[in-house]
Amino acid sequence: MSNRLCCSPARRLRASKMRRALLSFALVMMGCLAGVPPCAAGDAPAWMHALVSAPLPAHDEKTDGVLLYSERIITVQSADKFKITVREAYKILRPGGREYGTVTVSYNSHSKITGLRGWCIPAQGKDYEVKDKEAVEISLPKVDGSELVSDVKDKLLRIPAADVGNIVGYEYEKELQPFVLQDVWRFQEADPGREAHYTLQLPAGWEYKATWMNYPEVKPAQSGNQSQWSVSDIKGIKHEDSMPPWQGVAGQMIVSFFPPGSSAQNQGFQNWKQMGIWYQGLTSGRRDASPELKQKVASLTASASAPAAKMKALGEFAQRDIRYVAIELGIGGWQPHPAAEVFAHHYGDCKDKATLMGAMLHEIGIDSYYVVINSERGSVTPETPAHMGGFDHVILAIKLPDGVSEGSLAATMFHPRLGKILFFDPTDELTPFGQLSGALQANYGLLVTPDGGELVELPELPPAMNGIQRWATAPGRSGGRCERLQRIRTGSSRLKLCFPIRLQLSKLPTRASATCN
């Protein structure tokens, strides 16, 4: 699964570091394999040799490499079994393109890699071939804020002679038991591509729905139950500062599959409502409070009389007293742990914290709803079709009781059926109850209610709540030196400064609180 609901602020900050750590670790692991005898060298397959004299897609002198060929074949054998075959080949144009020689394929307890091979066609000399048994298996290196326990592993295969002027390629096959009947074809990358193909083979009587994002739609070639899409001369997407997230700019096709008959438990989503129903089913019963939790709620809210003060006390407890620890096995990447367990252990990930908070609110008579969201605004837009891969985070929408109108509760919106709702992120310990971090403001999330789901736009807080105010006093003409400079940060500006400080403080042996204005 490429996306899971386990986002902490640290994870966002450290994503790039994690990628580098992963690659370094992988290369070290490759070195440890020195004793494994290499397979006998074989020729690269015909589909790769056909690319040797193929014209390259348009590129500039800063392009590290180009995708010559990409193919993703998905064969849906049943609602419980997909078979995926992937073939890709790159021409390395610059030293930075050597990384195309390291192939990474993920798998977990619901999927297995049934074949993996890589090849290099050098500009001069014989081809190289590497096989599955030369790959190393690793689990994602752990970093602060990442999952503590996950069943996702990677197979890494290093292709020989991945150097400038050479063509490297690989092929793998994977079988998986899907949680949902969906697939995403991500065909646009940082470097340009010559051609990319996607083939969908469905059992008889099945239907599909394909939605294109950030790219002109291409109609498939149809043959029986097989549909084939192709794109060519795909432009690379160069990174620029302050650009929207990758998911918001890169071309992709999202496909949902539907078995015959609408009663099937496991199927793709026609719309957000269906996805909401699926998530509602996944979380059913998870917010039941244990006697201990009920007692804790009573104790936390004992000194507060107004509903807003009670909600704030519960929110602060969920944010600060429940440690962020993600344990995600199988469907646990999506399904929260029961609130009673989260409370008993005093730890959980974003969806666990939201579940606990929901359970506690219920105990004081306040309804709340999951909001499944992406931690990067721009990843999901009103045009995005309902699919699992769009999200990586869960927060809460709290139905405000009548008469609650405190000015500090700013992150609110009026919902036609629910009335006034307040968005709250129990994972974000540095954003006060009533506000939202900048990345979530004006973002789109799946609001999950008993009636199903709907995509809603979260509120955007006024600029004054996300600012830096600076005061300086100076003695005037005679002096010249600034005597006093004071700075107050609010909203997301404060979060950006405080979070790294909190990370450092959390490594200290004694408890310390962060003060960062």
């Binding site: 490759m30 070195g31 020195a34 494994v36 005898p37 290499p38 060298a41 002198e61 800063k62 610059r94 030293p95 930075g96 050597r98 000399g125 014989k126 190289y128 590497v130 290093r158 292709i159 020989p160 002679a161 150097d163 400038v164």
Partner: protein
């Protein structure tokens, strides 16, 4: 340790034959050694190549190296083996040459009493030239003759011999051995921009580490590295274009980068006058040692010098009405000078910064901080320019 080194080096006959191909009988001892050094550095150094997969190694059919004769005949070896070849050839040429196991100080500070042989983690060569002991490491790629990479300078080593060895300390090159010289010929435009040619010469270790870092990169990457360097040292937004092809491949003592440079808005208006800051290349020192306290000692990789020689042609009719005071702050191990002169309608700025520090206890931090504060004060001075009568009327 000595036995291992000597059994690798001791191929006298083969070495004498090889030396005959490298040096001439009339060469002075220094020239002989230089020729041997240059030839040895041409051996393919596998320590600096991208690690091969097992299949690539198998296909390359490269045999194991057992001694210096193998290195010479096969034309490839790792860095240590190349340095030992240098020892063998130097001996064959009549020099008193010894292998020395040293502890690189990028990795650890050596403690002899720990008695851990692996802490002495690389070879250098000690050669007596004209009666003087000199250290060499031709196995460290791109290191000019007479220098060691910074991690091997000023560190403990064991000079190997039959008796077990003698403790030595490798030399630390003077600041002048590792320089950055920035020479600029610029025009001040009527819009306040500086435009012209910039030549940056990196010498000694300043050239060596850049060449090592870029050894497996291409021209585009190297160009960006050199252009980014200028963007870092000029404390303003600039337009910069590398115009030559620097020598990335050799161990020559210097590497020259030529640029076309534009610094928009470097001069600012002040009524009828214009103000021109003098610290054109002061970026790195602008925020150096700003913290008032220091917990750990200060550690510098190598001694260095930075010299700026900037000539600025003023717009027709413009003259400096006030030049900054010359600076001369010589704290012996570290020094800074700045001088601005009016040379017939052109400004000539000379700035010099020399650092002779490798390790400094924290108790000296306030003094060092004060020094760099003085550097900043000097660099922030401004030249006041005023138009002549004809220019003013326009």
């Amino acid at each position: 340790m000595n036995d291992a080194a000597e059994s690798f080096v001791n191929k006298r006959k083969a070495m004498e034959q090889a030396v005959g191909e490298i040096v001439s009988t009339g060469d002075s001892p220094e020239v002989k050694l230089q020729k041997i050094y240059a030839r040895v550095q041409k051996i393919r150094n596998t320590s600096y190549e991208i690690e091969k997969t097992e299949q690539e190694q198998k296909r390359a059919k490269e045999k194991e190296i057992s001694n210096v004769e193998d290195v010479w005949k096969r034309g490839y070896a790792d860095g240590n083996e190349i340095t030992l070849l240098f020892v063998g050839l130097a001996r064959a040429a009549g020099f008193d040459a010894s292998p020395v196991r040293v502890a690189t100080r990028d990795d650890h500070f050596f403690k002899p009493n720990i008695m851990r042989s692996r802490d002495l983690n690389t070879y250098v060569a000690l050669v007596k030239v004209n009666g003087k002991d000199s250290y060499f490491d031709p196995g460290a790629a791109f290191t000019p003759f007479g220098l060691l990479p910074w991690s091997e300078t000023g560190t403990t080593g064991l000079k190997l011999d039959k008796e077990g060895g003698t403790w030595v300390t490798t030399t630390t090159p003077e600041p002048s051995a590792s320089q950055i010289v920035r020479k600029a010929e610029l025009n001040l435009t009527s819009e306040g921009a500086l435009e012209g040619k910039l030549t940056v010469t990196f010498t000694g270790l300043e050239a060596q580490w850049r060449r090592v870092g870029e050894r497996n990169q291409d021209d585009t990457h190297r160009k960006k590295l050199l252009e980014d360097y200028v963007k870092e040292v000029v404390p303003a937004g600039i337009e910069i274009e590398l115009t030559n092809k620097p020598d990335w491949a050799s161990s020559a003592p210097s590497m020259v980068a030529e640029y076309s440079l534009k610094v928009p808005g470097w001069a600012s208006g002040a009524g009828k006058r214009a103000l021109l800051p003098v610290g054109l290349f002061s970026g790195p020192e602008k925020h150096m040692f700003e913290h008032s306290t220091r917990v750990h000692p200060l550690y510098f990789q190598y001694l260095f010098e930075k010299t700026d020689d900037v000539r600025i042609e003023l717009p027709l009719g413009w003259q400096p009405s006030s030049l900054p005071q010359a600076q001369n702050n010589d704290a012996k191990v570290i020094a800074y000078t700045l001088k601005v002169e009016n040379e017939k309608g052109a400004l000539h700025l000379e700035r010099h910064l020399r650092s002779g520090l490798t390790f400094l206890e924290q108790k000296y931090y306030p003094a060092l901080r004060n020094f760099y504060q003085a550097v900043r004060t000097g660099d922030e001075q401004q030249i006041v320019l005023q138009p002549g009568a004809s220019a003013a009327s326009k």
